[in-house]
């Protein structure tokens, strides 16, 4: 209770000062004491995913992953591609791995479907640019988080993400979420409001319960899709992801940019 009150007074004070247009520095100084000093140390754990492109070539596998994610997070189905919200979706190989193709790459490879999602980078550019810390890299497990309450919708993170992993809610998403026969949303995951940016959260709400991400579970549930997606902790030497990364040739998207993606691809 004490804590709540202290916080309240601090925020109220900072808000009052912040509202005075001419006194931003003072307002800022007040809140620096507690919040501006966040450190971005190396996370102790780092969740990672391995995508097996070959196993994901089957449409039903990818469809199951996308569908499971959409349902788990109440993601709207907006028909206008300019306003579509995507957490995990399919792109052509030549667009995902621009640097891996050349003039003589077979057509089938160029056109091969690849699942893409947020890379939960080691050094996420979106986090670097966000003016409100509405997006940050969680120290405990390396997930790049979004605080929908904090986001002001400036879309700086979208300009900064080299993977196009972020979607903005150009309109109210709720009317585009498919409801079931009882008029209920597919899950109890909070929907988003208009005017905020969202993206894949590595299913933090499921990892917390000890479950794998919805897409991973869905892929494993499709016959032939077992092991299409593998999820695990890079800090754990015995994890399945570490075993695959050790034994198999994997690549990440746009490695040369130095963002350190944590989604790996078996080609």
């Amino acid at each position: 209770m004490e804590r709540s009150r202290r916080r309240f007074f601090r925020d109220a004070g900072a808000a009052a000062l912040g509202l005075g247009y001419g006194l931003p520095v003072l307002g800022t100084g007040c809140s620096f004491s507690e919040e501006g000093t966040h450190t971005e140390g190396d996370p102790t754990n780092q969740w990672a995913m391995v995508v097996d492109i070959e196993k994901c070539k089957r449409d039903e596998v990818r469809a199951a992953c996308v569908e499971a994610c959409n349902r788990a997070h109440n993601i709207p189905d907006i028909p206008d591609p300019d306003e579509e919200i995507e957490w995990i979706w399919t792109e052509k190989y030549e667009h995902v791995f621009e640097d891996q193709v050349h003039d003589h790459t077979p057509h089938a490879v160029l056109e091969a479907p690849v699942l893409v999602l947020c890379n939960h980078c080691d050094k996420p550019p979106c986090v670097r640019v966000c003016p409100t810390q509405a997006t940050w890299k969680r120290e405990s497990d390396g997930v790049v988080m979004m605080d929908m309450h904090r986001c002001i919708g400036c879309r700086y993170c979208m300009a900064a993400c080299p993977y196009g992993s972020r979607s903005f809610n150009w309109r109210n998403p709720q009317e585009f979420i498919a409801k079931d026969v009882n008029g209920e949303y597919p899950s109890d995951y909070p929907t988003r409001s208009r005017g905020v940016v969202e993206k894949c959260n590595f299913c933090v709400e499921r990892i917390r319960e000890g479950l794998p991400p919805a897409c991973v579970e869905a892929a494993n549930g499709v016959s032939g899709g077992e092991g299409a997606l593998t999820f695990g902790d890079l800090a754990d030497p015995d994890s399945e992801v570490n075993r695959i990364l050790h034994d198999t040739h994997t690549i990440t998207r746009r490695h040369s940019l130095g963002t350190g993606p944590n989604v790996y691809y078996i080609i």
Binding site: S4, R7, F8, D147, H149, N182, R192
Partner: protein, 141 residues
């Protein structure tokens, strides 16, 4: 000096027609300032406190009722920040009880009829409530 003009100390001249504007200005200001009071006096609306639907199976909320009435917004904001940003999902109440931090899980498990609880008071006090814009609860719960 032109007749009809009043010299004002050090400020050049001010014409008679200014008076009109000054009076209009004062009148507008008064109306704006007094509007809420006048409105309250004229509108003989219901000023009795809203009737809230309270859960029958519990005598008290997670903290004392008085504290909750006055500070639920502060508490909820803190819950929001600790849960979303720090990943802390447990709250220890004054009485030492450990409570799960969850708006739809904990709060709504008692205050399920939010239209007759949250909304009534918020409508009465004309404070916009934005929680339910995003947080979904099963219908009719």
């Amino acid at each position: 000096m032109v007749p009809g003009m009043i010299p004002v100390k050090g400020k050049g001249v001010r014409t008679m027609s200014d008076r009109k504007f000054i009076y209009i200005g004062i009148a507008v200001l008064l109306i704006v300032v007094l509007y809420p009071f006048l409105h309250g006096m004229v509108a003989s609306g219901d000023t009795t406190q809203p009737e809230l639907y309270l859960p029958s199976d519990a005598s008290e909320c997670i903290e004392e009722t008085e504290y909750m009435t006055a500070n639920h917004m502060v508490l909820l904001n803190e819950w929001r920040d600790t849960a979303v940003r720090e990943g802390i999902r447990e709250y220890t109440s004054q009485s030492g009880e450990i409570i799960k931090i969850s708006l739809t899980g904990t709060c709504i498990s008692c205050h399920g009829r939010k239209d007759e609880f949250c909304a009534r008071c918020h409508d009465y006090s004309n404070v916009t409530l934005s929680c339910w814009n995003c947080h979904v609860t099963p219908e009719g719960n």
